[in-house]
Protein backbone atom coordinates (compact mmCIF):
# COMPACT_ATOMS: atom_id res chain seq x y z
CA UNK A 1 0.00 0.00 0.00
CA UNK A 2 2.90 2.34 0.78
CA UNK A 3 3.95 1.77 -2.79
CA UNK A 4 0.77 3.52 -3.83
CA UNK A 5 0.47 6.19 -1.17
CA UNK A 6 4.06 7.27 -0.69
CA UNK A 7 4.39 9.23 -3.97
CA UNK A 8 1.17 11.08 -3.21
CA UNK A 9 2.89 12.83 -0.33
CA UNK A 10 4.67 15.06 -2.84
CA UNK A 11 2.70 17.87 -4.42
CA UNK A 12 4.57 17.71 -7.72
CA UNK A 13 3.75 13.99 -8.02
CA UNK A 14 0.07 14.62 -7.31
CA UNK A 15 0.06 17.36 -9.94
CA UNK A 16 1.95 15.20 -12.44
CA UNK A 17 -0.45 12.29 -11.87
CA UNK A 18 -3.45 14.47 -12.60
CA UNK A 19 -1.83 16.03 -15.66
CA UNK A 20 -0.62 12.70 -17.10
CA UNK A 21 -4.00 11.05 -16.50
CA UNK A 22 -6.07 13.87 -17.95
CA UNK A 23 -3.65 14.48 -20.86
CA UNK A 24 -3.73 10.73 -21.58
CA UNK A 25 -7.52 10.78 -21.69
CA UNK A 26 -7.61 13.92 -23.87
CA UNK A 27 -5.06 12.55 -26.34
CA UNK A 28 -6.92 9.22 -26.37
CA UNK A 29 -10.17 11.01 -27.23
CA UNK A 30 -8.68 13.13 -30.02
CA UNK A 31 -6.57 10.20 -31.21
CA UNK A 32 -9.75 8.43 -32.36
CA UNK A 33 -10.33 11.13 -34.99
CA UNK A 34 -6.64 11.32 -35.85
CA UNK A 35 -6.22 7.59 -36.49
CA UNK A 36 -9.54 7.13 -38.29
CA UNK A 37 -8.69 10.02 -40.62
CA UNK A 38 -5.44 8.29 -41.51
CA UNK A 39 -3.39 11.06 -39.92
CA UNK A 40 -1.56 9.15 -37.19
CA UNK A 41 1.57 11.07 -38.01
CA UNK A 42 -0.14 14.38 -37.17
CA UNK A 43 0.68 14.23 -33.43
CA UNK A 44 4.33 13.78 -34.18
CA UNK A 45 4.16 16.44 -36.89
CA UNK A 46 2.19 19.04 -34.94
CA UNK A 47 4.42 18.78 -31.88
CA UNK A 48 7.43 19.34 -34.12
CA UNK A 49 5.66 22.24 -35.83
CA UNK A 50 4.81 23.80 -32.47
CA UNK A 51 8.48 23.52 -31.56
CA UNK A 52 9.21 26.10 -34.27
CA UNK A 53 6.49 28.37 -32.88
CA UNK A 54 7.74 27.89 -29.33
CA UNK A 55 11.29 28.80 -30.38
CA UNK A 56 10.03 31.93 -32.12
CA UNK A 57 7.98 32.95 -29.06
CA UNK A 58 11.02 32.53 -26.81
CA UNK A 59 13.16 34.55 -29.24
CA UNK A 60 10.80 37.53 -29.54
CA UNK A 61 9.40 37.34 -26.00
CA UNK A 62 5.78 36.51 -26.87
CA UNK A 63 3.60 34.36 -24.59
CA UNK A 64 4.35 30.68 -25.32
CA UNK A 65 0.75 29.46 -25.42
CA UNK A 66 -0.52 32.23 -27.67
CA UNK A 67 2.36 32.17 -30.14
CA UNK A 68 2.93 28.43 -30.31
CA UNK A 69 -0.84 27.84 -30.40
CA UNK A 70 -1.31 30.08 -33.42
CA UNK A 71 1.74 28.49 -35.06
CA UNK A 72 0.44 24.97 -34.42
CA UNK A 73 -3.01 25.80 -35.75
CA UNK A 74 -1.55 27.41 -38.88
CA UNK A 75 0.61 24.33 -39.47
CA UNK A 76 -2.37 22.02 -38.99
CA UNK A 77 -4.50 24.02 -41.42
CA UNK A 78 -1.67 24.08 -43.95
CA UNK A 79 -1.37 20.29 -43.66
CA UNK A 80 -5.11 19.90 -44.19
CA UNK A 81 -5.06 22.21 -47.20
CA UNK A 82 -2.13 20.47 -48.88
CA UNK A 83 -3.66 17.03 -48.18
CA UNK A 84 -6.99 17.98 -49.78
CA UNK A 85 -5.26 18.73 -53.06
CA UNK A 86 -4.80 14.95 -53.31
CA UNK A 87 -1.51 15.28 -55.15
CA UNK A 88 0.38 14.90 -51.89
CA UNK A 89 -0.67 12.36 -49.24
CA UNK A 90 -1.34 13.39 -45.63
CA UNK A 91 1.89 11.79 -44.38
CA UNK A 92 4.02 13.61 -46.95
CA UNK A 93 2.22 16.92 -46.29
CA UNK A 94 2.84 16.55 -42.55
CA UNK A 95 6.45 15.62 -43.22
CA UNK A 96 7.07 18.67 -45.40
CA UNK A 97 5.29 21.37 -43.41
CA UNK A 98 6.01 20.32 -39.85
CA UNK A 99 9.65 19.38 -40.32
CA UNK A 100 10.21 22.76 -42.00
CA UNK A 101 8.77 24.36 -38.87
CA UNK A 102 10.99 22.16 -36.67
CA UNK A 103 14.03 23.13 -38.73
CA UNK A 104 13.08 26.78 -38.27
CA UNK A 105 13.14 26.21 -34.50
CA UNK A 106 16.58 24.59 -34.75
CA UNK A 107 17.89 27.60 -36.69
CA UNK A 108 16.56 29.93 -33.99
CA UNK A 109 18.29 27.78 -31.36
CA UNK A 110 21.56 28.40 -33.16
CA UNK A 111 21.06 32.18 -33.07
CA UNK A 112 19.65 32.71 -29.58
CA UNK A 113 21.21 31.04 -26.54
CA UNK A 114 18.32 32.04 -24.25
CA UNK A 115 15.92 30.24 -26.57
CA UNK A 116 17.88 27.04 -26.10
CA UNK A 117 17.33 27.03 -22.34
CA UNK A 118 13.55 27.47 -22.46
CA UNK A 119 13.06 25.16 -25.40
CA UNK A 120 14.80 22.08 -24.01
CA UNK A 121 12.01 21.58 -21.47
CA UNK A 122 9.47 21.78 -24.31
CA UNK A 123 11.22 19.13 -26.37
CA UNK A 124 11.83 16.59 -23.63
CA UNK A 125 9.10 17.51 -21.15
CA UNK A 126 9.51 18.01 -17.43
CA UNK A 127 7.19 16.28 -15.00
CA UNK A 128 9.09 17.65 -12.03
CA UNK A 129 8.07 21.17 -12.91
CA UNK A 130 4.33 20.54 -12.98
CA UNK A 131 2.50 23.25 -11.10
CA UNK A 132 -1.11 23.60 -10.01
CA UNK A 133 -1.43 26.08 -12.90
CA UNK A 134 -0.55 23.28 -15.33
CA UNK A 135 -3.21 21.10 -13.69
CA UNK A 136 -5.84 23.80 -14.14
CA UNK A 137 -4.75 24.34 -17.74
CA UNK A 138 -5.06 20.69 -18.78
CA UNK A 139 -8.38 20.35 -16.92
CA UNK A 140 -9.73 23.46 -18.65
CA UNK A 141 -8.55 22.34 -22.08
CA UNK A 142 -10.04 18.87 -21.56
CA UNK A 143 -13.43 20.17 -20.41
CA UNK A 144 -13.57 22.57 -23.39
CA UNK A 145 -12.48 19.83 -25.84
CA UNK A 146 -15.10 17.39 -24.57
CA UNK A 147 -17.77 20.10 -24.82
CA UNK A 148 -16.75 20.90 -28.40
CA UNK A 149 -16.74 17.20 -29.38
CA UNK A 150 -20.13 16.59 -27.77
CA UNK A 151 -21.62 19.65 -29.49
CA UNK A 152 -20.18 18.67 -32.88
CA UNK A 153 -20.36 14.90 -32.50
CA UNK A 154 -22.42 14.18 -35.61
CA UNK A 155 -20.42 16.55 -37.82
CA UNK A 156 -17.08 15.20 -36.58
CA UNK A 157 -18.18 11.61 -37.13
CA UNK A 158 -19.66 12.38 -40.56
CA UNK A 159 -16.62 14.32 -41.83
CA UNK A 160 -14.26 11.63 -40.53
CA UNK A 161 -16.19 8.84 -42.23
CA UNK A 162 -17.39 10.46 -45.43
CA UNK A 163 -16.51 14.14 -45.97
CA UNK A 164 -18.06 14.37 -49.45
CA UNK A 165 -21.51 13.20 -48.38
CA UNK A 166 -21.21 15.25 -45.17
CA UNK A 167 -20.72 18.37 -47.31
CA UNK A 168 -23.78 17.50 -49.41
CA UNK A 169 -25.81 16.98 -46.23
CA UNK A 170 -24.97 20.49 -45.08
CA UNK A 171 -21.99 19.89 -42.78
CA UNK A 172 -19.36 22.65 -43.05
CA UNK A 173 -16.49 20.23 -43.58
CA UNK A 174 -13.69 22.81 -43.79
CA UNK A 175 -14.90 24.41 -40.56
CA UNK A 176 -15.04 21.07 -38.76
CA UNK A 177 -11.54 20.14 -40.02
CA UNK A 178 -10.21 23.47 -38.73
CA UNK A 179 -11.97 22.90 -35.41
CA UNK A 180 -10.32 19.50 -35.01
CA UNK A 181 -6.91 20.98 -35.83
CA UNK A 182 -7.51 23.69 -33.23
CA UNK A 183 -8.40 21.08 -30.59
CA UNK A 184 -5.32 19.05 -31.48
CA UNK A 185 -3.02 22.06 -31.35
CA UNK A 186 -4.36 23.17 -27.97
CA UNK A 187 -4.20 19.60 -26.59
CA UNK A 188 -0.60 19.18 -27.74
CA UNK A 189 0.33 22.60 -26.44
CA UNK A 190 -1.13 22.00 -22.99
CA UNK A 191 0.42 18.51 -22.73
CA UNK A 192 3.79 19.25 -24.31
CA UNK A 193 5.36 21.05 -21.37
CA UNK A 194 4.96 18.08 -19.06
CA UNK A 195 4.97 15.14 -21.42
CA UNK A 196 7.36 16.07 -24.21
CA UNK A 197 7.17 15.56 -27.95
CA UNK A 198 7.63 11.77 -27.96
CA UNK A 199 4.78 10.98 -25.60
CA UNK A 200 2.26 13.18 -27.36
CA UNK A 201 2.69 11.37 -30.67
CA UNK A 202 2.33 7.98 -28.95
CA UNK A 203 -0.46 9.17 -26.65
CA UNK A 204 -2.55 10.13 -29.67
CA UNK A 205 -2.12 6.87 -31.54
CA UNK A 206 -1.72 4.00 -29.04
CA UNK A 207 -5.01 4.27 -27.08
CA UNK A 208 -7.04 4.69 -30.28
CA UNK A 209 -5.41 1.68 -31.94
CA UNK A 210 -6.02 -0.47 -28.86
CA UNK A 211 -9.63 0.72 -28.64
CA UNK A 212 -10.15 -0.04 -32.34
CA UNK A 213 -8.99 -3.61 -31.75
CA UNK A 214 -11.64 -3.97 -29.02
CA UNK A 215 -14.73 -2.50 -30.65
CA UNK A 216 -16.58 -1.95 -33.93
CA UNK A 217 -18.60 0.98 -32.55
CA UNK A 218 -17.45 4.57 -32.93
CA UNK A 219 -19.05 5.76 -29.69
CA UNK A 220 -17.53 2.90 -27.68
CA UNK A 221 -14.17 3.59 -29.32
CA UNK A 222 -14.27 7.18 -28.00
CA UNK A 223 -14.93 5.99 -24.43
CA UNK A 224 -12.44 3.15 -24.57
CA UNK A 225 -9.64 5.20 -26.09
CA UNK A 226 -10.07 7.94 -23.46
CA UNK A 227 -10.10 5.36 -20.63
CA UNK A 228 -7.03 3.57 -22.01
CA UNK A 229 -5.19 6.89 -22.41
CA UNK A 230 -6.03 7.91 -18.82
CA UNK A 231 -5.02 4.51 -17.41
CA UNK A 232 -1.70 4.38 -19.24
CA UNK A 233 -0.94 7.98 -18.25
CA UNK A 234 -1.66 7.27 -14.57
CA UNK A 235 0.17 3.92 -14.48
CA UNK A 236 3.13 5.20 -16.47
CA UNK A 237 3.55 8.17 -14.14
CA UNK A 238 3.53 5.85 -11.07
CA UNK A 239 6.09 3.56 -12.67
CA UNK A 240 8.22 6.55 -13.54
CA UNK A 241 8.37 7.58 -9.88
CA UNK A 242 9.29 4.12 -8.59
CA UNK A 243 11.69 3.17 -11.37
CA UNK A 244 13.22 6.65 -11.46
CA UNK A 245 13.12 6.91 -15.23
CA UNK A 246 11.61 9.49 -17.56
CA UNK A 247 7.83 9.58 -17.30
CA UNK A 248 7.38 9.90 -21.06
CA UNK A 249 9.10 6.61 -21.64
CA UNK A 250 7.17 4.69 -18.96
CA UNK A 251 3.83 6.03 -20.18
CA UNK A 252 4.59 5.06 -23.77
CA UNK A 253 5.84 1.63 -22.69
CA UNK A 254 2.73 1.10 -20.54
CA UNK A 255 0.63 1.90 -23.59
CA UNK A 256 2.64 -0.52 -25.65
CA UNK A 257 2.16 -3.29 -23.05
CA UNK A 258 -1.61 -2.71 -23.18
CA UNK A 259 -1.42 -2.86 -26.97
CA UNK A 260 0.55 -6.13 -26.87
CA UNK A 261 -1.87 -7.75 -24.38
CA UNK A 262 -4.96 -6.72 -26.36
CA UNK A 263 -3.28 -7.79 -29.57
CA UNK A 264 -2.53 -11.23 -28.07
CA UNK A 265 -6.09 -11.62 -26.74
CA UNK A 266 -8.05 -10.27 -29.68
CA UNK A 267 -5.83 -12.06 -32.19
CA UNK A 268 -6.61 -11.79 -35.88
CA UNK A 269 -10.01 -10.21 -35.29
CA UNK A 270 -8.53 -7.22 -33.50
CA UNK A 271 -5.75 -6.92 -36.02
CA UNK A 272 -8.24 -6.94 -38.89
CA UNK A 273 -10.19 -4.11 -37.27
CA UNK A 274 -7.07 -2.03 -36.68
CA UNK A 275 -5.75 -2.82 -40.16
CA UNK A 276 -8.21 -0.28 -41.57
CA UNK A 277 -6.56 2.58 -39.68
CA UNK A 278 -4.44 4.70 -42.01
CA UNK A 279 -5.48 2.54 -44.96
CA UNK A 280 -8.77 3.96 -46.13
CA UNK A 281 -11.03 3.66 -49.09
CA UNK A 282 -10.23 0.13 -50.13
CA UNK A 283 -12.74 -2.15 -51.77
CA UNK A 284 -15.36 -3.81 -49.62
CA UNK A 285 -14.13 -7.13 -48.26
CA UNK A 286 -15.70 -10.19 -49.80
CA UNK A 287 -18.34 -11.28 -47.31
CA UNK A 288 -20.81 -13.83 -48.55
CA UNK A 289 -24.50 -13.06 -48.04
CA UNK A 290 -24.99 -16.44 -46.34
CA UNK A 291 -22.46 -15.56 -43.69
CA UNK A 292 -23.94 -12.10 -43.32
CA UNK A 293 -27.46 -13.28 -42.50
CA UNK A 294 -26.51 -16.09 -40.11
Amino acid sequence: MTWLTEPLGFEFVRNALVVCTVAGALCGLLGVFVTLRGMSYIGHGLSHAIFGGAALCAAIGVNFFVGAGIWGLASGLAVGRVTRRRIIGADAAIGVITTASFAFGIVLLGFYTRVKQSIEATVFGSVLGVSSGDVLLILGVTVCSVAVIVANYRSLLFTTFDPEVAEVTGVKVARIDALLMLLLSVAILSSMKVLGVTLIAAALVLPAVVARMLTDSFTRMLWLSSAIGATTGFTGMFLSYHLDVASGATIVLTGFVVFAVVFAISGRRGLRRAAGLDDHHGPAPDVSPLRAVR
Binding site: R154, G170, R272, H280, A284
Partner: protein, 252 residues
Protein backbone atom coordinates in the same frame (compact mmCIF):
# COMPACT_ATOMS: atom_id res chain seq x y z
CA UNK B 1 -44.29 18.60 -67.47
CA UNK B 2 -43.65 19.51 -63.82
CA UNK B 3 -41.30 22.24 -62.61
CA UNK B 4 -37.69 21.01 -62.91
CA UNK B 5 -35.85 20.07 -59.73
CA UNK B 6 -32.50 20.94 -61.29
CA UNK B 7 -31.81 22.44 -64.68
CA UNK B 8 -28.41 22.86 -66.35
CA UNK B 9 -28.02 25.21 -69.30
CA UNK B 10 -24.83 25.35 -71.39
CA UNK B 11 -22.73 24.06 -68.50
CA UNK B 12 -18.99 23.75 -69.14
CA UNK B 13 -16.22 22.95 -66.71
CA UNK B 14 -12.46 22.42 -66.83
CA UNK B 15 -10.02 20.61 -64.55
CA UNK B 16 -7.27 22.58 -62.84
CA UNK B 17 -4.89 21.68 -65.69
CA UNK B 18 -7.22 23.29 -68.23
CA UNK B 19 -8.58 20.06 -69.72
CA UNK B 20 -12.28 20.23 -70.54
CA UNK B 21 -14.38 17.82 -68.48
CA UNK B 22 -17.86 19.08 -69.39
CA UNK B 23 -18.75 21.10 -72.48
CA UNK B 24 -22.05 22.81 -73.19
CA UNK B 25 -24.19 20.36 -71.21
CA UNK B 26 -27.94 20.93 -71.07
CA UNK B 27 -29.93 18.77 -68.67
CA UNK B 28 -33.30 18.95 -67.04
CA UNK B 29 -34.13 16.79 -64.01
CA UNK B 30 -37.82 16.71 -63.18
CA UNK B 31 -39.71 15.11 -60.33
CA UNK B 32 -40.55 12.20 -62.63
CA UNK B 33 -36.95 11.62 -63.82
CA UNK B 34 -35.16 8.30 -63.58
CA UNK B 35 -31.98 8.87 -65.52
CA UNK B 36 -28.78 6.93 -66.05
CA UNK B 37 -25.67 8.85 -67.07
CA UNK B 38 -23.39 6.49 -69.01
CA UNK B 39 -19.94 7.02 -70.43
CA UNK B 40 -16.35 5.83 -70.22
CA UNK B 41 -13.93 6.67 -67.38
CA UNK B 42 -12.98 10.34 -67.47
CA UNK B 43 -16.06 11.29 -69.50
CA UNK B 44 -17.29 13.74 -66.85
CA UNK B 45 -20.01 11.57 -65.26
CA UNK B 46 -18.95 12.17 -61.68
CA UNK B 47 -18.31 15.88 -62.32
CA UNK B 48 -21.80 16.20 -63.80
CA UNK B 49 -23.22 14.46 -60.72
CA UNK B 50 -21.30 16.87 -58.49
CA UNK B 51 -22.62 19.84 -60.47
CA UNK B 52 -26.14 18.51 -59.86
CA UNK B 53 -25.29 18.10 -56.16
CA UNK B 54 -23.84 21.58 -55.96
CA UNK B 55 -20.41 20.51 -54.70
CA UNK B 56 -18.79 21.55 -58.02
CA UNK B 57 -19.50 25.02 -59.36
CA UNK B 58 -19.15 24.94 -63.14
CA UNK B 59 -16.85 27.42 -64.84
CA UNK B 60 -19.54 28.40 -67.35
CA UNK B 61 -23.28 28.04 -67.76
CA UNK B 62 -26.27 28.16 -65.45
CA UNK B 63 -27.47 25.73 -62.81
CA UNK B 64 -30.91 26.26 -61.37
CA UNK B 65 -32.13 24.28 -58.41
CA UNK B 66 -35.69 24.47 -57.18
CA UNK B 67 -35.73 26.47 -53.96
CA UNK B 68 -35.62 24.22 -50.89
CA UNK B 69 -34.80 21.13 -52.95
CA UNK B 70 -33.88 18.13 -50.77
CA UNK B 71 -31.08 16.03 -52.23
CA UNK B 72 -29.87 12.59 -51.25
CA UNK B 73 -26.45 11.33 -52.31
CA UNK B 74 -25.05 7.81 -52.38
CA UNK B 75 -21.28 7.64 -52.99
CA UNK B 76 -19.46 4.79 -54.71
CA UNK B 77 -19.15 1.86 -52.33
CA UNK B 78 -15.58 1.48 -53.56
CA UNK B 79 -14.58 4.67 -51.74
CA UNK B 80 -16.18 3.64 -48.44
CA UNK B 81 -13.80 2.82 -45.58
CA UNK B 82 -15.21 -0.58 -44.62
CA UNK B 83 -13.03 -0.82 -41.52
CA UNK B 84 -14.43 2.38 -40.03
CA UNK B 85 -16.00 1.51 -36.66
CA UNK B 86 -19.65 2.20 -37.38
CA UNK B 87 -22.73 0.07 -37.18
CA UNK B 88 -25.53 0.20 -39.74
CA UNK B 89 -27.71 2.38 -37.49
CA UNK B 90 -24.82 4.79 -36.71
CA UNK B 91 -24.19 5.15 -40.45
CA UNK B 92 -27.81 5.95 -41.25
CA UNK B 93 -28.12 8.36 -38.31
CA UNK B 94 -25.20 10.44 -39.60
CA UNK B 95 -27.72 12.05 -41.95
CA UNK B 96 -30.10 13.14 -39.17
CA UNK B 97 -30.75 16.89 -39.02
CA UNK B 98 -28.12 18.87 -37.13
CA UNK B 99 -30.54 20.96 -35.14
CA UNK B 100 -29.36 20.17 -31.65
CA UNK B 101 -26.10 20.13 -29.76
CA UNK B 102 -26.86 16.71 -28.22
CA UNK B 103 -24.51 14.06 -29.61
CA UNK B 104 -26.92 11.17 -29.41
CA UNK B 105 -29.97 10.51 -31.58
CA UNK B 106 -33.41 10.98 -30.05
CA UNK B 107 -35.87 8.03 -29.89
CA UNK B 108 -37.84 9.70 -32.71
CA UNK B 109 -34.74 9.91 -34.92
CA UNK B 110 -33.87 6.29 -34.14
CA UNK B 111 -37.41 5.24 -35.00
CA UNK B 112 -37.18 7.13 -38.31
CA UNK B 113 -33.89 5.43 -39.14
CA UNK B 114 -35.33 2.02 -38.24
CA UNK B 115 -38.35 2.76 -40.45
CA UNK B 116 -36.09 3.53 -43.43
CA UNK B 117 -34.11 0.34 -42.83
CA UNK B 118 -37.37 -1.61 -42.72
CA UNK B 119 -38.59 0.04 -45.92
CA UNK B 120 -35.39 -1.07 -47.65
CA UNK B 121 -35.65 -4.62 -46.32
CA UNK B 122 -32.71 -4.51 -43.92
CA UNK B 123 -34.57 -4.14 -40.62
CA UNK B 124 -32.83 -5.92 -37.79
CA UNK B 125 -29.33 -5.24 -39.10
CA UNK B 126 -28.95 -1.94 -37.24
CA UNK B 127 -26.40 -3.23 -34.74
CA UNK B 128 -24.22 -4.96 -37.33
CA UNK B 129 -20.93 -3.47 -38.45
CA UNK B 130 -21.18 -2.27 -42.08
CA UNK B 131 -18.43 -4.71 -43.10
CA UNK B 132 -20.54 -7.69 -42.02
CA UNK B 133 -23.18 -7.19 -44.72
CA UNK B 134 -23.52 -8.51 -48.24
CA UNK B 135 -22.92 -6.18 -51.20
CA UNK B 136 -26.64 -5.52 -51.72
CA UNK B 137 -27.20 -4.86 -48.02
CA UNK B 138 -24.24 -2.46 -47.96
CA UNK B 139 -25.72 -0.47 -50.86
CA UNK B 140 -29.06 -0.38 -49.07
CA UNK B 141 -27.43 1.08 -45.94
CA UNK B 142 -26.05 4.03 -47.91
CA UNK B 143 -29.33 4.48 -49.77
CA UNK B 144 -31.07 4.42 -46.37
CA UNK B 145 -28.76 7.15 -45.12
CA UNK B 146 -29.60 9.26 -48.18
CA UNK B 147 -33.33 8.64 -47.68
CA UNK B 148 -33.33 9.70 -44.01
CA UNK B 149 -33.42 13.35 -45.07
CA UNK B 150 -36.55 12.60 -47.17
CA UNK B 151 -34.99 13.74 -50.47
CA UNK B 152 -36.94 14.57 -53.61
CA UNK B 153 -33.94 13.75 -55.80
CA UNK B 154 -31.58 10.83 -55.16
CA UNK B 155 -28.16 10.92 -56.85
CA UNK B 156 -26.00 7.80 -56.93
CA UNK B 157 -22.40 7.54 -58.12
CA UNK B 158 -21.76 4.18 -59.81
CA UNK B 159 -24.15 2.16 -57.62
CA UNK B 160 -23.52 -0.95 -59.72
CA UNK B 161 -19.75 -0.64 -59.91
CA UNK B 162 -17.78 -3.48 -58.36
CA UNK B 163 -20.86 -5.50 -57.37
CA UNK B 164 -21.97 -8.91 -58.57
CA UNK B 165 -24.96 -9.50 -60.87
CA UNK B 166 -27.31 -10.38 -58.03
CA UNK B 167 -26.44 -7.19 -56.14
CA UNK B 168 -26.86 -5.12 -59.31
CA UNK B 169 -30.38 -6.50 -59.77
CA UNK B 170 -31.20 -5.90 -56.11
CA UNK B 171 -30.05 -2.29 -56.26
CA UNK B 172 -31.75 -1.45 -59.56
CA UNK B 173 -35.05 -3.06 -58.49
CA UNK B 174 -34.90 -1.08 -55.28
CA UNK B 175 -34.31 2.16 -57.18
CA UNK B 176 -37.26 1.36 -59.45
CA UNK B 177 -39.46 0.88 -56.38
CA UNK B 178 -38.30 4.17 -54.89
CA UNK B 179 -38.96 5.92 -58.20
CA UNK B 180 -42.47 4.45 -58.32
CA UNK B 181 -42.99 5.92 -54.84
CA UNK B 182 -42.28 9.38 -56.26
CA UNK B 183 -38.51 9.81 -55.90
CA UNK B 184 -36.51 11.27 -58.81
CA UNK B 185 -33.36 9.20 -59.40
CA UNK B 186 -30.15 10.03 -61.26
CA UNK B 187 -27.23 7.62 -61.35
CA UNK B 188 -23.93 7.28 -63.16
CA UNK B 189 -22.71 3.96 -64.48
CA UNK B 190 -20.29 2.13 -66.76
CA UNK B 191 -22.76 -0.68 -67.14
CA UNK B 192 -24.69 -0.28 -70.39
CA UNK B 193 -26.74 -3.45 -70.58
CA UNK B 194 -27.86 -3.56 -66.95
CA UNK B 195 -29.33 -0.08 -67.28
CA UNK B 196 -31.50 -0.51 -70.35
CA UNK B 197 -33.85 -2.89 -68.55
CA UNK B 198 -34.34 -0.64 -65.54
CA UNK B 199 -33.98 2.99 -66.61
CA UNK B 200 -36.47 4.76 -68.89
CA UNK B 201 -33.91 7.46 -69.80
CA UNK B 202 -30.20 7.38 -70.55
CA UNK B 203 -27.71 10.12 -71.22
CA UNK B 204 -24.52 9.23 -73.10
CA UNK B 205 -21.73 11.53 -71.97
CA UNK B 206 -18.20 12.04 -73.15
CA UNK B 207 -17.43 15.59 -72.11
CA UNK B 208 -20.39 16.65 -74.33
CA UNK B 209 -23.82 15.05 -74.30
CA UNK B 210 -23.68 12.53 -77.16
CA UNK B 211 -27.32 11.48 -76.92
CA UNK B 212 -30.19 11.49 -74.43
CA UNK B 213 -33.54 9.72 -74.35
CA UNK B 214 -35.00 6.21 -74.05
CA UNK B 215 -32.44 3.34 -74.16
CA UNK B 216 -33.48 2.21 -77.64
CA UNK B 217 -32.92 5.71 -79.02
CA UNK B 218 -29.62 6.25 -77.21
CA UNK B 219 -27.85 2.90 -77.38
CA UNK B 220 -27.07 3.00 -81.10
CA UNK B 221 -23.76 1.98 -82.70
CA UNK B 222 -22.94 5.51 -83.92
CA UNK B 223 -23.66 7.09 -80.52
CA UNK B 224 -21.66 4.40 -78.70
CA UNK B 225 -18.67 4.79 -81.00
CA UNK B 226 -18.70 8.56 -80.42
CA UNK B 227 -19.01 8.05 -76.67
CA UNK B 228 -16.59 5.18 -76.10
CA UNK B 229 -14.31 5.57 -79.11
CA UNK B 230 -14.73 1.90 -80.01
CA UNK B 231 -17.08 0.22 -82.49
CA UNK B 232 -19.90 -1.70 -80.84
CA UNK B 233 -22.93 -3.56 -82.10
CA UNK B 234 -26.39 -3.31 -80.59
CA UNK B 235 -28.72 -6.32 -80.53
CA UNK B 236 -32.36 -6.24 -79.53
CA UNK B 237 -33.92 -8.74 -77.17
CA UNK B 238 -37.43 -8.53 -75.69
CA UNK B 239 -37.64 -4.94 -76.88
CA UNK B 240 -34.43 -3.97 -75.07
CA UNK B 241 -31.08 -3.01 -76.61
CA UNK B 242 -28.00 -5.10 -75.74
CA UNK B 243 -24.56 -3.75 -76.47
CA UNK B 244 -21.85 -6.18 -77.59
CA UNK B 245 -18.26 -5.69 -78.69
CA UNK B 246 -17.77 -6.00 -82.45
CA UNK B 247 -15.66 -9.11 -82.96
CA UNK B 248 -12.29 -8.87 -84.70
CA UNK B 249 -12.03 -5.08 -84.43
CA UNK B 250 -8.88 -3.64 -82.92
CA UNK B 251 -9.20 -0.19 -81.36
CA UNK B 252 -6.30 2.07 -82.34
Amino acid sequence: MSEPLVELRHVSHRYGNGASVLRDVDLRIGGESMLGIVGPSGSGKTTLLRVLLGTVRPGHGHVERRKGLRLGYVPQVEVVDWYFPVTVLETVLMARPARRLRPWATPVEKAEAEAVLERLGIAGLGRRHIRELSGGQQQRVFIARALLGQPELLLLDEPTSGVDVRTRHEVLHLLEELHRDGLAVVLTTHDLNGMAAHLPELLCLNVCVQAAGPPLAVLRPDVLERTYGAPMDVLEHAGLPFVVDRPGVRVS
